[in-house]
Structure formats: structure tokens, C-alpha cells
């Protein structure tokens, strides 16, 4: 039998695409242990289909971040808590800060006659000392008439502006008796006390999605990320020359970072009401950080209105080649950081969530996550939200 021309020309998606019209509001509360960081983040997302060929999606989030992050500090505080109990000069304490961040994104999806998709996106994030702009482009191409295999290609380019300190010494900073350390007059560009630095980030990804059966599919993707420019954390310090002439100075990271990785995902329906998803990501970069991430998510439809979810994530990373947490390690090395996020550690996340459909138009969700690192960091993430479909 011959293929009809019309059918051959107009092979389409199978309606599996998830574009639809909705507005969702979410409130996220993130809290760390030991009076560290807290974040309150209300967000708003809207998605709208224009006909069958276009979708536009926008979101906005406002973060209010407060608390304190671990850092080496001058030890002048009585009763200060410290990880380095035998030090009288520097302690690994907490550096207080407050920050407000606004971020928004816009994504436009165009579907072609053969239902390939072109996705163009832009992101903007702004806080008092960091400004980030990102543009992204993705293309999804079906490799066969059945639309069971698709090739996904994507690239994004980010341009960041960071406010850094010209004087990396802490001697002009204030100390407080409660183990906290706050900066004053930090952002004084007219006096030259601070300056603007920039960095760029190029992220490319290629992957394949394959439908395996009516109830399962998988994705595999490779990615590469190239960061260049000012990659140092302007708020992090290291101790140098502790045994000879101890001083607390700003950390210094290389101005390039090349990372590669592979990400695999598999999802399957178990019975008629339960789905299971497993994912694995391997990451490696030229800072000598390697990481493995394994994520599992389970969803169960309890009746027609309620969906329960649970998840477990395991993460492990090696330390950066220029990282050391000891105060008596660094002398004149060019690159040095004691930021524990660059150390080697494991982390576990436990997740549970519930979704309730009031009717076809309105649903509510609540979720909780507990994140625990072997560094001693614990955090909880609570989410509450509602979605309105129209």
C-alpha cells in the first residue's frame, strides 16, 4: 500500500507533549541546621498554548536569603563556636548575610508540522552582588515516523556580573561577639573598595529519548560546561602562612572550569497506578571534582484525586584540587579555597509529597525534603502550592 502524501507530510506528535494552560503558585521554605541559611521563596509560573504550534511559559521567583555561611574568621569573639578548637587566631565560624534575589525566565516553544520542537529561553537573576543573564536554545527532532525516538540538542550561554572586593583582607571588617562577622561598607565602588568582575558559562547538551514500551521510556544525554572569568567566591576566605605570618585572605579559584558528564534516566509504570523513575548522573571537571548522583522517585495514584510521591537521592563528590579545609595548609599556592562545597562529601535527600486534585481545574500540592551532607550540613525544604488550569 502506498503512503498517502498527506499522511506522510503531516506525521505528528502523539499528544504526549505536556504543554497546557495553567498558572501555578508555589511557596518554598528552605532551612539549614545550626542557624545557617534560610530561604523563603514564593514563585509564580504561567504556561499558555497559542493554538497547537506555540507555547509560552514564564516564571518568577523572589528569594529572601538570610543566615550565615561557614567561613574562616578572625577569632576575637568570646564564646565563639569553632571547628578548630585549638586556634586562637582564626576560627571556622559563620559569616552572616542577608540577600534578596529576583529571578525570572521566559521560554517559547515552537512546534513544526512534523512536531519537532524549537525551544528558546531567557533567564535573568539579580541580587545585590550578582547579576546573571542566560539565553538558551534547544531543538527536539523525531528520528522516526512513530515518534518513539527523539534527538535533543541544546546550548545555553550565560553572562554574569559579580561584585568583588578590591581589598581581600578582612582587617577593615567588623567583628561581633556572637560568632558572626558582618561586612560594612563593602560595596563602595567609588572608593575602589570593590569592583565588578564578570564570568561566562557555555553549556551544551545532546541526548536521545527512547520510548521502550507503552509504559516505559529512557533518556541518555551527554553534557559539557565551560565556565570562564571570575569564578571565585568573593565572600570566602582562606588562612595563609599560618605557621609563619598568619593572615586571612580571600580565596582564589582558577578562571576557567571545563566540566563534562552523562545523565541517564529511566521511567516505567508499575501496574496501573504507580510509576518509578531512576536517574544517574556522572560529572567530572578539570578542578578534579568528580561526582555521582543517583535519584529514585516513586509516584502512586491513590484514587482519582490524590497522588503520593516519595524519593531518595544519593550524591557523592570528590574535592577540588585546590581545596583544603585546614587553616595551616595554604602558603603561597596560587589557587586556594576552604569552601566546604568544594570538599569531598556524600549527601542524601529524602523526599515525600502529596498532590490533591480538587477538580479538573484546581490542584494543590505539599512536599517535604530532608537533605543531609556528611559535612554536617542538614537542610529541610518545604513546598506548598496550587495550580490553576484553564
Amino acid at each position: 500500500m502506498q503512503l498517502s502524501k498527506i499522511a506522510a507530510l503531516a506525521i505528528i506528535a502523539t499528544g504526549v507533549t505536556q504543554a497546557e494552560n495553567y498558572v501555578s503558585v508555589e511557596y518554598l521554605q528552605y532551612d539549614e541546621n545550626d542557624n545557617r541559611v534560610s530561604v523563603m521563596a514564593p514563585s509564580l509560573t504561567a504556561s499558555y498554548d497559542i493554538g497547537t504550534d506555540y507555547n509560552i511559559k514564564a516564571d518568577f521567583v523572589h528569594d529572601s536569603v538570610s543566615g550565615a555561611t561557614p567561613s574562616y574568621l578572625p577569632d576575637g569573639a568570646s564564646g565563639a563556636s569553632s571547628r578548630v578548637t585549638n586556634s586562637t587566631d582564626f576560627i571556622y565560624g559563620k559569616q552572616a548575610f542577608n540577600e534578596e534575589r529576583n529571578a525570572g525566565s521566559l521560554v517559547i516553544t515552537k512546534r513544526f508540522a512534523n512536531r519537532d520542537e524549537l525551544i528558546v529561553g531567557g533567564d535573568y537573576s539579580r541580587e545585590s552582588d550578582f547579576d546573571a543573564k542566560t539565553v538558551s536554545l534547544e531543538y527536539m527532532h523525531y528520528l522516526n515516523a512513530s515518534h518513539n525516538t527523539s534527538l535533543n540538542l541544546g546550548a545555553s550561554y550565560g553572562f554574569n556580573e559579580i561584585l568583588s572586593f578590591t581589598n581581600s583582607s578582612t582587617t577593615t571588617r567588623n567583628r561581633r561577639d556572637d560568632d558572626r562577622f558582618e561586612r560594612e561598607d563593602d560595596y563602595d565602588t567609588s572608593s575602589g573598595a570593590s569592583r565588578k568582575e564578570t564570568s561566562t558559562s557555555l553549556n551544551v547538551q545532546a541526548g536521545i529519548t527512547q520510548i521502550l514500551s507503552p509504559t516505559s521510556s529512557m533518556k541518555v544525554a551527554g553534557f559539557a560546561i565551560m565556565d570562564e572569568g571570575y569564578l571565585t567566591n568573593p565572600h570566602a576566605f582562606v588562612v595563609r602562612d599560618y605557621s609563619t605570618a598568619p593572615k586571612l585572605v580571600g580565596e582564589n579559584r582558577p578562571d576557567t572550569r571545563r566540566a563534562y558528564g552523562v545523565d541517564l534516566k529511566y521511567i516505567t509504570l508499575l501496574g496501573e497506578r504507580m510509576s518509578y523513575q531512576v536517574g544517574y548522573r556522572y560529572y567530572t571537571d578539570d578542578w578534579k571534582i568528580n561526582s555521582h548522583t543517583i535519584e529514585n522517585d516513586l509516584y502512586y495514584k491513590l484514587g482519582k484525586r490524590v497522588t503520593l510521591g516519595a524519593g531518595l537521592r544519593y550524591y557523592t563528590q570528590t574535592e577540588a584540587s585546590f581545596y583544603n579545609g585546614a587553616k595551616d595548609y595554604f602558603t603561597n599556592e596560587e589557587f586556594a579555597s576552604s569552601d566546604e562545597r568544594l570538599s569531598s562529601f556524600d549527601a542524601l535527600t529524602y523526599k515525600a509529597n502529596l498532590d490533591f486534585k480538587q477538580n479538573d481545574k484546581i490542584s494543590y500540592n505539599i512536599g517535604g525534603e530532608f537533605y543531609s551532607q556528611s559535612t554536617g550540613l542538614d537542610a529541610t525544604l518545604i513546598t506548598v502550592g496550587a495550580k490553576f488550569r484553564f
Binding site: E138, P214, F223, A259, D297, Y300, Q317, L381
Partner: protein, 73 residues
């Protein structure tokens, strides 16, 4: 990198029972279920999770190229 991707895909195929069935367009109803989406029921929450991991861990990537930076890392 390509070798790693091929190896990884092969492993996943093994996990799936070494079978890829030809799925007809009208047989994709289960795949369209909300619990069968890779981004979960709430992509907005997934985005915030990713942001949390980005600010507390030293690696990123693999979940698409969209999304911007922040001063949190």
C-alpha cells in the same frame, strides 16, 4: 565521552529487558500520565531543588540547558 554514553545507554537497555517495542501513536496514553513525566508533577519544585543542589554542591548539568546562574555558589 561518546564511549561512556554508548555504554550507559546499553546498560539502561539491559535494565529495560533488552527490548524496544514499536509503540503505536495511540498506545501512548500511559506515557502521557502526569506521573510518567521526567520532571515530575511539579517542574517548579524540581527547578528549586536543582537550585538548592547547585548552591550546596560542586557539580551541575545534565537536566537541560535552560536556567540561569545565581550568586549562591
Amino acid at each position: 565521552m561518546i564511549r561512556l554514553m554508548v555504554w550507559s545507554m546499553g546498560t539502561l537497555l539491559l535494565l529495560s529487558g533488552c527490548s524496544i517495542k514499536e509503540v503505536k501513536p495511540w498506545e501512548k496514553g500511559d506515557l502521557a500520565m502526569d506521573i510518567m513525566q521526567y520532571e515530575g508533577l511539579h517542574p517548579e519544585v524540581k527547578k528549586f531543588e536543582a537550585h538548592t543542589y547547585f548552591s550546596k554542591e560542586a557539580s551541575r548539568g545534565g537536566a537541560g540547558v535552560a536556567g540561569g546562574g545565581c550568586g549562591c555558589n
